[in-house]
């Protein structure tokens, strides 16, 4: 039996088991399991994966998070694109996108070949037929990927793999060390206590941020019964939206472009808010007095997957890229630059900072059980409830516009 088939059968079996087992009796708020059963309630279009690699086409158009495909222009020593171009002859054009929504709409144009999709984009891309299944045999480095990332509900459907795991991480709470003391350790600093820094609070500008509010409510209002911040029924959703509307009074600026967030923190226009590790790193490099923490309630986060566009005309280059980016050296470089846990086990040996994988909990599944990866909310509740309908992403988008006012 080929490796793919074995994986597929195992995954299918696991899915079947988890679907039967159900989560009703399970009271723990375990992050990774709950998306399994009901998220698969759709049939993806019938697309076939590439069967074999051809000649590299000489060009590759990438949609990626800023920091994922560095070619030396941000920092001359940070470059894993040029070696790839030299080795494969695939000239790379990178389009950075600030949010998952932007990535989905960019992929819809059909002009890009690969995308680094977070969980709140991947299933949408699969459902609309914008990405096709991935032939794991054509990606030699895939074997070394952490098992916890393989064939997960956000990167596979019914046992068919749709992408190559990139890495994962958590959203953090960043603050100005000289303006905010004592150091915060709870998301309350930007929710219930946001008035302390009114006008200087920032938050991520995307509807998916509603999950952060829901996460906070999970800890502070347990009677709402939120088990999964992406599975919100009417009452829970209204509570989250109200929390965000209250927060909006104290927000100075929402951010999606990280240069603006770095600027804002440097000159004090923002003193506290959500962030990614890379932003903290770059701000500190620029002598900003900032630091970041993972609050006690846990955090939302991401587990990103490289996916191939169904309309791509450069699929060989696409596969070569995916193999390259999860190769130990490149994966280590991007994980260190961005500040996330790499997908490839062997990358841990290649990081410049030998304790990188420990700091970012690369092999620590218990840690990532606390991190709620970005996932697309759908009407079938992701926490397994069948008695209510949950709010889907369209509702989240409309609500987000209302929140911003």
């Amino acid at each position: 039996m080929t490796r793919t088939k074995l994986l597929a059968v195992t995954a299918a079996a696991l899915l079947a088991l988890s679907a039967c087992g159900g989560d009703d009796a399970d009271d723990s708020t375990d992050a990774s399991d709950d998306t399994s059963a009901t998220a698969q309630a759709f049939t993806p279009p019938d697309l076939k994966a590439l069967t074999e690699l051809g000649e590299p086409e000489g060009e590759l158009n990438i949609v990626a998070w800023a920091g994922y495909a560095e070619d030396g222009t941000t920092d001359p020593s940070v470059d894993w694109v040029t070696p790839f171009e030299e080795e494969t002859g695939c000239e790379v054009n990178v389009k950075t996108a600030p949010t998952s929504d932007d990535m989905v709409s960019l992929m819809k144009t059909g002009q890009y070949d690969v995308v680094s999709a977070s969980g709140d984009a991947s299933l949408r891309l699969i459902a609309s037929g914008d990405v096709e299944p991935v032939n794991l045999d054509l990606v030699p480095n895939y074997v070394d990927v952490f098992d916890a990332l393989k064939m997960q509900p956000w990167n596979s459907v019914a046992g068919v793999a749709y992408g190559i795991p990139h890495g994962r991480g958590a959203n953090l709470l960043m603050y100005r060390t000289d303006e905010v003391s004592p150091a915060p350790d709870s998301w309350g600093a930007v929710f219930d206590d946001a008035s302390t820094y009114s006008g200087n609070v920032t938050a991520y500008d995307s509807p998916i941020y509603i999950a952060d509010a829901a996460l906070y409510l999970m800890a502070t209002q347990p009677d709402l019964g939120i088990k999964n911040p992406y599975a919100l029924d009417d009452k829970q959703f209204t509570a989250a939206v109200d929390l965000l509307k209250a927060q909006n009074e104290h927000i100075g600026e929402y951010w999606s472009d990280y240069t603006k967030e770095i600027q804002a923190f440097k000159n004090g226009d923002s003193v506290i808010g959500t962030t990614w590790q890379i932003i903290v790193n770059l701000a500190q490099l620029d002598k900003a007095k900032v630091d970041a923490v993972l609050p006690s309630e846990g955090a939302t986060g991401w587990s990103d997957t490289w996916m191939v566009s169904a309309k791509s005309e450069h699929k060989t280059c696409a596969y070569l890229w995916m193999d390259h980016i999860i190769s130990p050296t490149a994966n280590a470089q991007v994980a260190e630059w961005f500040g996330e846990a790499p997908a490839n086990e062997k990358a841990c040996a290649e990081t410049a900072d030998k304790s990188h994988c420990d700091t970012f909990h690369a092999a620590d599944e218990a840690y990532f059980d606390q991190v709620w990866y970005w996932t697309t909310p759908i009407t079938q509740c992701l926490d397994g409830r069948t008695d209510v309908q949950c709010k889907d992403y369209g509702d989240w988008t409309t609500a987000w516009q209302e929140i911003k006012g």
Partner: protein, 270 residues
Amino acid sequence: MILSRGARAALAAVTALGLAFVYVPLVVVLISSFNTDRTFGWPPSGLTVDWWRRAWDNAGAREALWTSVRAGLGATAIALVLGSMAAFAVARYRFFGRESVSILIVLPIALPGIVTGIALSNAINTSLQPLGVEFGLFTVVVGHATFCVVVVYNNVLARLRRTGGSLEEASMDLGADVFTTFRHVTFPAVRSALVAGALLAFALSFDEIIVTTFTASASVQTLPLWIFNNLARPNQAPIVNVVAAILVVLSLVPVWLAQRISSDPAGGRI
């Protein structure tokens, strides 16, 4: 004197303030292009010519500049042809719907750019892509041409209204055919209006970002798109300041030219 000294002094003061208002941010841009701080902190923490050196070497900026020039030339050419044809029609003839023509031509620039942008993008997606027309320089040029036409149209129309048709009639009375009349009488009269219109149309197209965002493809990057992409990247942002400073200085040439060539002291109508 037409206006009293006090009135003139007041006007001069307001004008001076106005010009100061216009130029202070540009001076800030210029100073920022020497700022060692990557994120435009003020006052500048230090001065360096590093960004100017990097801008000089930046192939992306040069390519974007060339793309913008090409797009501008294409849009201006189309605007010149269509704009002057429409202006002649409206100026020299009376016909039913004459006013509507004016409104129709003004519409692309009167409606917000984002409406034009998503309308064209949607149209290309749904009807042109199946026919093989892809997003690219061509779609960008067409997008720009829609609002550049009005600039040429206005200038030529204003000029035609001022010159009147009697010269042309005289020329025909003397035996010249339509084409000779055009070449020797009409065209010289409107030539400077065409130049003024063309320069303004080019300027509009050159700095346009909203419609361009929606009609360009991944590989077509005009200068504004390049600026947009690079202002978001910490190490590239200061280079953008350099590019902007250079643009302002370089633009003195065409603006001055428009002034000299056009007998319309406003340098042309928008």
